[in-house]
Structure formats: structure tokens, C-alpha cells
Amino acid sequence: MKFTWFNLMPWPYLPDDFREKNRSVWVDIDQRLFDPAKSHEVYNTYMDLLEYADTLGFDGVGVNEHHQNGYGIMPSPNIIAAGLARRTKNAAIVVLGNSIALYNPPIRVAEEFAMLDCISGGRLVAGFPVGTSMDTNYCYGQIPALTREKYAEAHDLIIRAWTERDPFAFNGRYNKLRHVNIWPRPIQEPIPPIHIPGGGSVETYDFCIDNTYSYSYLSFSGYLRAKVLMQGYWDRVAERNTPDVSPYRAGFAQTICVAETDEEAERLYSEHVLYFYNRCLHVHPGFADAPGYRTIKTIQTGALSQYAPPRGTYSQLTWKDLVEGGHVIAGSPETVRHRMEDLIKGLNVGNIFCLMHVGNMPADKCMYSSKLFAEKVMPKLRGLLPECEGDGRFWCKPLANRATSGTLPQPYSPARAAEAV
């Protein structure tokens, strides 16, 4: 099992009447709600928490990319990841990911990911999302019907840039580069492991199967509702005669809150969980799915965008609804262990993106929950997939001997040099 501690980095100061006074947390969110001076504290706390997760023994620390978004103040995950590469010791740096159709030219991603891999000593797990419609189309202006073609081209360019050892010309439709020759290149050979976030389209299933990438379902609606979608993926894996059904071919994001008892979990975390589901997921439906962004085939299979809850929004859900419905796995270590086992076995997933920081949760509670999970839950889940323990295809392969950051020698001193003679 691979457990990645994830922080979406929500803005924790959305007002109580946010829903009533604002139409969307995303794209056209009110500028005035962001306070740059307060964000100084917020960013540093969030980065401290990610570093803390490394000390607790999580396998990875995770960051992602959103734009103009009140629940994700991380338009550039690579900036956060660079800090983590320096300040963490063992955890994989899981960047899930860079929306590669948005980088111009996309070799920027090949370069920055290479830098992260080099600085971290080979700890990078790379993610290539298409990006949500909010990010990609409405914030970054990509033409919806051309987004996937541009994404595919960016992917091919990045992989070639990582793997070819001589300069080459790339004559793409969206990128024309005469001399591709990135410098540096990643430590991990032939390429760092790649995870692809997806939302149920067959094209993405096939893309992962064909390239041996891990398929990640990053949902906020929990593992019970994910069953149908993940089964669709595994059916496709079987249909395509894929040589194995390793659970590491898949990942899943789950909100998790641990306390000593179920009651304590509700008492400590419900306000923060409700903050997330009520305020942070308040997305104007007109931004959820630009026409042309999803293929007709995907729409016809009935997969609705998770950002367009059809009827009855998240705001009507109580703590009880969210916990019983599996949106959130919360409770005592024993309760959480049981439900996590259901999740892992039910979805057959080896990569768990643990959303341990939720909404406006303060650092101390987040640490309490994370520590309980790391000490009392994680060890008991580790042995759940013994038959696939050796499957390293979807995880990073760090250098055995890695540099320790902040360990410069004494500055050169002429006096000392003279003494040494």
C-alpha cells in the first residue's frame, strides 16, 4: 500500500454566508475574500503540515494544481513541491499533477519535474491531469474541443524530452520546437512513475493501460459512490487483456478524519468537513463542464461531472450523511481501519491519496488526526495486498544515498587553510 498525505490547500476564511452571497468558489470567486497577508501564515502552515506527514511515515506527500479556486490556493504545485523536496526526507513528492495542456511549451513540465526529481533524489511521482473544465477552459482559456488533442501532444512531447538522448525537432500542431534537449533530466529511468487523474472516460482508462500509468480517481464523493466508476476501469483492464490487475494501477482520493472515538471525531472535525462540502464545493454549474470538454461518448455513458451535482447540493448533507455515505471516512482508528479495508478491497486500489486536511481545519487537529492514522491505522492496512507488494512500477525509485539539505561545510577560511598546511 502507498499512502499519500494530501492537502488541497483550501482558503480557510470563506465567510459563513459564502454560499448565499457568492455564486462560485471557483473561476469568478470574489478577489476581496483573499487576504495576501493572511495567506503568508496559511501557506507556511500548510507546508509545515506536509513536512510533518513525512515524519509520520506517510509514503508520499501530495500537491495538485487548481486556478482561481477558493479550496485550492496552489496554482503552481511545483513551487510547493520544491519546498517539500528540500524539507522532507523520505516521502515521495507526489505532484498530481501538472495540467500539461496549459504549459507553453509543455517541456516546461518536463524541465520542472526533472528539477524536482533531481533535487529530491528521485522521489518524484508525476501526475498529468487534463485539468478540470474550470481550470483548463474557463480560467486558462483553452478551447474545450481541442483540449484533449493538445494534452495528448503535450504528453508525447514530455515523454520524448525525458527519454531521448539527442536533440530532436518536434513539429506538433500546438508546439513547434526546433531543438528539444531538456537539461536537466530526471534521475528516474526511463521516466518517473506517472499517475493520471480521470473521471470515468474510457479514453483515459485506455491511455493508462497502454502506457502503464496509474489511474487516479480524485473524487470528493467517497469510496461507496466510486465503486461503479472503478469497476468500469477494472472491467476495461480485463477487456484489454492487460497482463495483471495490480491494485497499484489505480489510486483513489479519500477524506479521512481519525480521533480516539467516533463521537470525538464528529465533535472535532464536523465543522471543518462541513466547511469543505458546503462552502468549498460551491461551484457555479455553468463552469462545471464547458461544451466540448468531455467527449460525447463520455456524456452518453451518463457520467456527470462531479462538480455538477444534479439535484440537492452538498450543502444539504449533514455529518451523518457524509460519514454514512462514505464521502468521509471518520471515527476511531478501528472504525477508520474497517472502512479503509472496505475501500481498498472494494475498489482494488493500492494508492490512497489521504485527504487528511479538510476545509478550515486548524493545524493541531490535522496533526492529531494524521498521527492517529499513521500510528494506529496505516500499519494495519499495510499488509492488505501481499501478492502485489513488489510491484514498483507505479512508485518512485529514489537514490539510495541522498543529500541532506542544509548541511553546508564551514566557509573557506584562509587561516584554517594555513593551519592545515
Partner: protein
């Protein structure tokens, strides 16, 4: 009475409606598409031989991934004129179709002598931003498109219930096909450099605008008129962006002035 036929072009097999007799006229529909019952088509067909193609993604014309940008669609327009066997037809376009027609006239000024642009897209005035139609909810559409949104909603849905889930699902798929294509020309800002090409148009041009257009405000009418030498601007009162549905006779009369 319009009949549906098929024209083969290099990249797309295009369904089109044909009807009426008289001077040949090619009508290019807007981002909302068209139906054989559109009253403007009927009005134009009384005096013209009308050819009205369904652009890729619209009606029964399949989506065409090979066509990606303004030039591709401008040339598709000319490929269609050729496929219809026409020389110098009257070019008429509404909204996005008007943008394509204007580009066709600008790129091949010697091949088109009569042009009608009905509240065309294609220009962008900083002081008068056009609302982002790609974020509209279904129930918001009539307010932007019609002088009278209430009767407009009925025209749009033929009286069907917008809250009916089945209607909504079909709407979603149709929207994805149609606006997916439209986005290639109109997303995220409906401007692809036409302003610097407008001067090339030599056609006698009439520009028609609904006085209550809340999608592309009527202030764009004079901007087009200023860009096309000798053009004439006709403003139709009590009509919105869908002036072609609300006041088809007025639009047809304006087009008729071209001959």
C-alpha cells in the same frame, strides 16, 4: 419547404437544407444551430434559392476534428459554395455564421458581391464585453437571446419543459456537440482577428441587428459598419439576438435589398 441533402467536402460530409427558387443564397447558422422550420429560411426561400448547411456538430452533420480554427471554417464555407455548384451566391450569416460569412468575404473579396451579416460575432470592444455564453445555464439562455424572453423560451424549446430530465439530457448532448464546435471559433472570446481583415470586404453589405440584443450588444453594429466600406446597418426594434426568430420578415426584407 426545405429539403435535407448532403454535400461532400474534403474534410466533412455536410447535411444541408435546400429550398425555394431565385437568386442563390447561402445561409450560415449561428452557434444555436437551425431547424428546417426556421421562419427566416422560409421567408428567404420565397424569393431565393436557399442553401443552408448544418456545420459540423450540428443537426446530422458529424463533428469534424480536422477542422479546428477560423481559417478551417472559412475554407469549409468556400468548399461548400463549390460543392453546391454556386458562383457568387448571396452570403448570409447569423451570429457565428455571420462571423464565418464575413471571413469568407474578407479572404476572397472577388468571389462575393452581396453579403448580409445578422448580429455577427467576430469583433470585441473592450468597453462592451460580450457575455460568456459558454457559462450560461439553459434557463439563462432566453434572457440573453430574446427581446421577449418568455415567448423566446417557448420558441427555443418548442414548448417542451426545460426541467424535464430527458429534455435536459438531450440538451446536454446537443449542447456539447454544437457548442463544442462553436467553441473552436468563439471560446473563450469570440474574436479571431476579423477586425484587421474587414477592410478587404468588397461586397455590398447589409448588417442587421436586433435593438434588444443582450448577447452581442447593438453597439457592435456600428463597429461592423465602420469596418466595411459602403455597408448599411439596419436595426430591428423589439428583437434580440434571435432576431431571425422574432422578426424574420424584417431580416428577409433587409436581405432582399441586396437583390
Amino acid at each position: 419547404m426545405m429539403t435535407q441533402k448532403t454535400a461532400q467536402t474534403r474534410h466533412a460530409e455536410v447535411r444541408y437544407l435546400e429550398g425555394g427558387s431565385g437568386t442563390p443564397l447561402v445561409f450560415l447558422h449561428g452557434a444555436g444551430g437551425m431547424t428546417p422550420e426556421d421562419p427566416l429560411l422560409a421567408a428567404l426561400a420565397e424569393t431565393h434559392h436557399v442553401y443552408a448547411p448544418y456545420l459540423p456538430g450540428y443537426g446530422e452533420t458529424e463533428d469534424c476534428p480536422e477542422l479546428r480554427d477560423m481559417l478551417d471554417y472559412t475554407l469549409l464555407g468556400w468548399d461548400l459554395v463549390k460543392a453546391f455548384g454556386l458562383t457568387d451566391p448571396i452570403l448570409v450569416g447569423h451570429s457565428m455564421g455571420g462571423m464565418i460569412a464575413a471571413e469568407m468575404a474578407a479572404i476572397a473579396p472577388n468571389d462575393v458581391s452581396r453579403l448580409a451579416l445578422i448580429c455577427p460575432a467576430g469583433l470585441w470592444l473592450e468597453e462592451h464585453p460580450i457575455p460568456d455564453m459558454f457559462t450560461f445555464m439553459p434557463y439563462e439562455m432566453p434572457g440573453y437571446l430574446f427581446h421577449d424572453p418568455e415567448s423566446g423560451a417557448k420558441l427555443m424549446t418548442s414548448g417542451l419543459d426545460m426541467n424535464d430530465p430527458k429534455f435536459l439530457q438531450n440538451y446536454l448532448v446537443r449542447n456539447a456537440r454544437q457548442l463544442g464546435m462553436a467553441g473552436k471559433l468563439l471560446f473563450p472570446i469570440p474574436e479571431r482577428g476579423l477586425a484587421q481583415r474587414l477592410y478587404r470586404i468588397q461586397a455590398r453589405t447589409v448588417i442587421v441587428w436586433g435593438a434588444s440584443d443582450r448577447l452581442i450588444p447593438p453597439v457592435y453594429g456600428p463597429a461592423f459598419a465602420a469596418g466595411i466600406a459602403g455597408s448599411r446597418l439596419v436595426t430591428v426594434p423589439e428583437a434580440g439576438h434571435m432576431v431571425i426568430l422574432e422578426k424574420p420578415a424584417d431580416v428577409a426584407a433587409a436581405v432582399a435589398t441586396l437583390g
